[in-house]
């Protein structure tokens, strides 16, 4: 057999290997699901308690009206940039090594957007009045104020959530068709519906590819706009520390940074759990490491440029916020954040051998995400804790209700991913085949 025939001969094995995670359910899986469900239930209980007894159960107080719920919202929206960046931007760049990691990232995107939206509801004092946000004729003689960046946010996130769900679904259609024929039980009928009668005719392939080609640049543009608008939620206000013209690109790059870090964690865990070493190889970690290096440097540059301008201007209100972070009450989290999102990634990801070490990359991914979460909290709390009139300066630490709800949200994200991994192939099967057949995935 020549090389081309050899490649085609791999197809049955790829089908078997990549559908295997959907066909086997070990006992440890049920244990994990039960454990996560318990944590989610605890979070749900804390939220119910907060709804019943009022938003006073949080440690929000004047002048700190936004804190960990909004920080979590910003963080999860950031994580959601993983799928769009990896699948969208790398597709536009024709980076073919992306095939084994696109689905992992796209799943993360959809789940992260859902959790981010949930965080907004945690923050609503009277959550049962959420529909006041919707623009529809009513007798209250009030109307959503579209001049508010929060309304831009609602519009952008609705667009992004819809678009990323469709973007996840598009390349899943051929894989659902494959699963339809090989997986029985209740899932077969669901696969049958979701595969849209896919047979693999060239007309169908052409429709899928054309739609993918059109939607990819659009969703990349939406990705940039969404986190820009999240940044403008802050940047449009005159709060010292927020009112910055580079806050939008800073937010976008930070989002991609945490998103890539989360994908590395996902790659490591799924590779270990489902024995996908042959598909998610050290070269993929290496490539992700290079991308993380780029985002680390870009983020550091933007952060430095922003802080330098503040430092040089020496405006007292702005300096109060900066000093609170550099040498004040927020110094420990600030320096930890700097170490986790800038120093450690720079020190490790510049080493080629480190980038090819999956466990090490996973640890860096974890640190980046922890650091980015702290960074999101630091964007919110120090500026709000230091308003212009110093008699009103304050501090903040989340209450047990806030922490329990957010832990529940994190558990919900993991639970949804764990459940999705039993329904959706975590590696795009047809794209993996395509990468192998055309001989570029391994080059």
């Amino acid at each position: 057999m020549d090389q081309a025939e050899n490649r085609w001969a791999e197809i049955p094995k790829i089908n078997r290997d990549l559908l295997a995670p959907l066909q086997t359910v070990p006992r440890s899986y049920f244990f994990l699901v039960a454990l996560l469900a318990c944590v989610v239930a605890a979070g749900g209980g804390a939220w119910l308690y907060q709804i019943q007894t009022g938003i006073g159960q949080t440690h929000l107080h004047p002048p700190i009206f936004w804190a960990v719920y909004i920080a979590s919202f910003v963080y999860w929206i950031g994580v959601s940039h993983s799928g769009t960046f990896i699948s969208g931007v790398l597709r536009l760049c024709k980076a073919e090594w992306r095939y084994p990691v696109t689905r992992i990232a796209e799943l993360m995107t959809v789940i992260s957007v859902m959790i981010a939206a949930l965080c907004v509801f945690f923050h609503l004092g009277r959550v049962w009045r959420w529909y006041y946000l919707l623009p529809y004729p009513n007798q209250r003689t009030i109307w959503p104020d579209f001049r508010s960046p929060l309304m831009w946010d609602a519009t952008a996130i609705f667009t992004y959530a819809t678009a990323s769900a469709l973007y996840l679904y598009l390349p899943l259609i051929p894989d659902f068709a494959l699963a339809r024929e090989r997986i029985g039980g209740w899932r077969r009928s669901v696969y049958r519906i979701l595969s849209l009668g896919w047979r693999g005719t060239q007309t169908q392939w052409q429709a899928l590819e054309t739609a993918h080609r059109i939607i990819t640049p659009l969703i990349v543009m939406v990705m940039v706009s969404v986190h820009s608008i999240v940044g403008w939620d802050f940047g449009m206000s005159l709060v010292p520390g927020w009112h910055s013209s580079i806050i939008a690109p800073y937010f976008v790059v930070g989002a991609v940074h945490s998103g890539l870090g989360m994908v590395v964690i996902g790659m490591y865990v799924l590779r270990r759990v489902y024995h996908l070493e042959e598909y998610i190889r050290s070269e993929h970690f290496d490539k992700m490491g290079k991308l993380l290096l780029v985002t680390t440097l870009t983020l550091a540059y933007l952060y430095f440029a922003d802080q330098l301008t503040v430092w040089y201007g020496k405006i007292p209100d702005h300096m109060a916020v900066m000093n609170a972070m550099l040498v004040g009450p927020f110094a420990v989290p600030w320096w930890s954040m700097v170490a986790m999102i800038f120093v450690i990634p720079l020190a490790t990801l510049t080493l080629p051998s480190f980038r090819q070490w999956p466990a090490g990359m996973m640890v860096v991914g974890l640190l980046i995400n922890l650091g980015m979460y702290i960074e999101r909290v630091l964007i919110l709390v120090p500026p709000l804790a230091h308003p212009r009139l110093s008699y009103n300066w304050s501090s903040y630490f989340p209450s047990w209700v806030e922490l329990t709800i957010l832990l529940g949200a994190l558990a919900l994200a993991v639970l949804l991913y764990v459940l999705a991994a039993k329904f959706v192939p975590v590696i795009s099967i047809w794209e993996e085949k395509r990468g192998r057949i055309h001989g570029r995935a391994r080059s």
Binding site: D2, A4, E5, W8, A9, I11, P12, N15, P135, I142, W143, D145, F146, R147, M151, W152, T155, A156, F158, T159, T162, A163, L166, L170, I173, P174, A177, L178, E181, L196, G197, W198, R199, G200, T201, Q202, T203, Q204, W205, Q206, A207, L208, E209, T210, A211, I214, I215, L218, I219, M221, V222, S225, I229, W430, K433, R434, I437
Partner: protein
């Protein structure tokens, strides 16, 4: 092979994926089989011209039109409703043009993406004119060439023989 099936409405030939199909398609055309009656089924999109049917529906144009409708929707919400329900805020225009631009951008993207997706779904649902069952060997890498022909059609036997001569691993009557 169900050669004598009276309900037969097509012939399926299974080919090695490394085999070029264009010559087979040309021979079918020369034999008188219409292009619309031939369908290629594969586990991966087949590269190259000639293997797919001409596109009658220009998806790009539909996306652009949907995007324009999306802009109108955005202008309606962020501009028109702001004018209908004026919220007086000091120093701010009732209808703020940058805001209308931002909201319209998002609604343009939303409609562009959703409509493109819906049109694609329609094309996938009706993406084969020859009703044939799922072919497991295609999933394993073989390429199927399906020709829609009635058993009584004069080209039926000719096509069968042509597919066999072209090197099909298996020829089956559907």
């Amino acid at each position: 092979m169900a050669v004598h099936d009276p309900k037969a409405h097509g012939i399926l030939g299974l080919f090695d994926p490394t085999m070029p199909l264009l010559p087979v398609l040309q021979r079918l055309r020369q034999a008188g089989v219409e292009g619309d009656a031939v369908e290629i089924v594969s586990a991966l999109p087949m590269p190259g011209e000639g293997t797919s049917k001409p596109v009658h529906l220009h998806l790009y144009l539909i996306t652009v039109l949907a995007g324009l409708v999306g802009i109108a929707v955005g202008i309606f919400f962020a501009g028109a409703t702001a004018a209908f329900y004026p919220l007086m805020t000091g120093g701010k225009a009732i209808v703020a043009r940058p805001v209308v631009g931002i909201v319209s951008y998002e609604t343009m993207m939303l409609l562009g993406i959703v409509v493109t997706f819906l049109v694609m779904v329609k094309r996938i649902l009706f993406g084969y004119r020859i009703p044939f069952e799922h072919e497991p060997q295609v999933e394993e890498g073989l390429v199927a060439l399906v020709v829609a022909l009635d058993r009584q059609h004069p080209l039926f036997e000719v096509t069968k023989r042509l597919l066999q001569d072209a090197g099909a691993q298996e020829v089956r009557v559907l």
